[in-house]
């Protein structure tokens, strides 16, 4: 290993294999010089993303009014940057939806200008 490269081991979160992927990169140019330990191509792509801009699917709940249950569960349709999650949670907490809601229903469209929707993942019937 030369002096201006850094080695990191990242655990892939894409599937339960939890591959421990080791990679070497140049912290100045942000160039990855080697990747080892990924069982699939997805893991290789993931680790490149994870190093500089980690992305996560946000799963949470949203308040339901007039429903059999007080909450429906939700998630983003795509992974969003980890750094945007806090602000997205604030937006979700401030929102509420009228029952009934169904799985797949969009409750927030491109929130905060992000490239994703927030959809219902557990339906709630009207009371």
């Amino acid at each position: 290993m030369n002096n201006d490269s850094t080695t990191k081991i990242l655990t892939c979160i894409i599937c339960p294999n939890s591959c421990r992927i080791s990679l070497t990169y140049d912290p100045d140019t942000q160039e990855i010089t080697s990747i080892h330990g990924a069982l699939c191509k997805k893991g290789k792509d993931w680790v490149e993303q994870e190093l500089f801009k980690p992305m996560r699917t946000l799963c949470s709940s949203i308040r339901i009014t007039g429903g059999r249950e007080p909450l429906a569960s939700i998630r983003t349709t795509k992974a969003v940057s980890l750094s945007s999650i806090k602000e997205l949670m604030e937006l979700i907490k401030a929102s509420s939806i009228k029952a009934p809601v169904e799985i797949g229903q969009v409750v927030l469209s491109e929130p905060l200008g992000l490239d994703c929707d927030v959809i219902i993942t557990r339906g709630v019937d009207r009371l």
Partner: protein
């Protein structure tokens, strides 16, 4: 009001195991199926598992728990498989050629006659009492799954500042969930030198939010009279005693326990079904039949799974073999051979097998192992060998084997 029902196959539990077992039975040609569940909603524990990552094997995409559950519930509806919710099975009586199942619902008693029963009741959590948690018992101590249900189903955040004891997956998932909802998760503690949950959950639930994980750390005492006010933790010395010189007090109002799951087998025990002391689930054959002919088990009531996709697969198999039992195609004179968990193997399911069959073995290792080789042998004959670059107790390993015709003695599974 008393209601009498006659079915071919009765399934107890409408979680991922129960619904998949029903679909497996239906696909095998059985039309007379009934699923009973004590909850208001079918779907079992998945209803409160709102995080994603379910279905990666089966559907090649990451679904949340409720979405995964709903797919099989919808299939049951489409195939006219009835699901009786809000109904609690309290007794199973074995008759000569059938079972009588007694169940109770609001204002109603059921007496159900079935030719076969599939157990799919899932598991429940170990509690503060089960681990002899030291210190007082104030309000504010919850199992992680209870806190998850309160938060995700009933909109109740159980505390503002919490310590999670045990690093099982539900604890890790709750560390993230509580953080997202505005609580401060002070730490996760674990007695072992390795986490109880999957590595991907350490990364996305703890590391993402800078929540510290203290491995090889025990609980000295829980503090508080009316409500939890703190917890004292200490690292373990090599002799597994608490190193009090390095103990630390953490102020918190809530403690979540994520210290393991126990298959829920009260009904199975009432039938005198043999239980494996390690898995705490029924001892089964490769066909997933328990020691009581006609009673099958699948999902977390059989063995605690780490991945729901594997639950569904196992349950479908139980559904299919239950059909072969009720149709009379099942030979109960099959000779049974034991399969033993040997070196570095914690358990192996099934525990008994029949010659000339194909069987999926589920097993876990006793400790984290790099470059593991798992071999299945009969006498000195090698039946199958599999290599793993890394494996640990939190991962269930499945190996499909063809059991030879001429078995000598028992089978043994070893890891090196």
């Amino acid at each position: 009001m008393n209601e009498k029902i006659n079915v071919s196959i009765l399934i107890i539990g409408a979680g991922p195991a129960g619904t998949a077992a029903a679909l497996g039975a239906k696909e095998a040609g059985e039309d007379s199926i009934l699923i009973i569940d004590r909850d208001t909603r079918a779907g079992g524990i998945l209803n409160q598992c709102i995080h994603d990552g379910f279905g990666l094997m089966r559907y090649k995409r990451a679904l949340s728990g409720p979405e995964y559950a709903q797919l099989d519930i919808d299939s049951c509806h489409k195939k006219n498989i009835p699901i009786l919710t809000d109904t609690y099975v309290h007794t199973i009586i074995k008759g000569d050629d059938h079972f009588t199942i007694k169940a109770i619902a609001t204002g109603r008693l059921y007496s159900i006659k079935a030719k076969a029963v599939i157990l799919a009741m899932g598991c429940r959590e170990r509690t503060a009492g089960a681990i002899s948690l030291p210190g007082s018992r104030p309000a504010g101590i919850y199992t992680a799954g209870t806190a998850q249900r309160l938060l995700n189903m009933q909109n109740t955040l159980v505390g503002r500042s919490c310590v999670i004891v045990g690093s099982g997956d539900i604890g890790l998932i709750m560390a993230r969930r509580m953080t997202l909802e505005g609580a401060k998760v002070q730490a996760v503690t674990e007695l072992q030198s390795y986490p109880g949950g999957l590595d991907r959950n350490i990364r996305q639930c703890l590391d993402d939010f800078d929540i510290p994980l203290y491995l090889e750390t025990g609980i000295v005492s829980v503090h508080g009279n009316d409500r939890v006010c703190g917890i004292t933790i200490a690292p373990l010395r090599s002799d597994r005693t608490l190193d009090m010189k390095n103990s630390q007090y953490i102020t918190c109002d809530t403690i979540l326990l994520s210290v393991g799951l126990i298959p829920e087998n009260e009904l199975s025990r009432s039938l005198d079904i043999a239980i494996d002391p390690i898995t705490q689930g029924p001892i089964v054959t490769g066909d997933l039949m328990t020691s009581c002919p006609g009673v099958f088990a699948c999902g977390n009531v059989l063995q605690v799974h780490d991945i729901v996709d594997l639950v569904s697969e196992e349950a479908k198999r139980a559904g299919r073999t239950a059909v072969s039992f009720v149709s009379g195609a099942y030979a109960d004179t099959k000779e049974l051979f034991s399969i033993y968990a040997g070196e570095k193997i914690r358990y192996c399911v099934p525990q008994v097998i029949t010659p000339s069959s194909t069987t999926t073995l589920s097993l876990r290792v006793t400790e984290p192992i790099t470059d593991a080789t798992i071999s299945i042998t009969n006498d000195a004959t090698l039946i199958k060998k599999r290599r793993y670059s890394f494996t640990q107790p939190s991962e269930m390993i499945q190996i499909e084997i063809s059991v030879p015709e001429n078995l000598v003695g028992s089978l043994e599974v070893n890891c090196e």
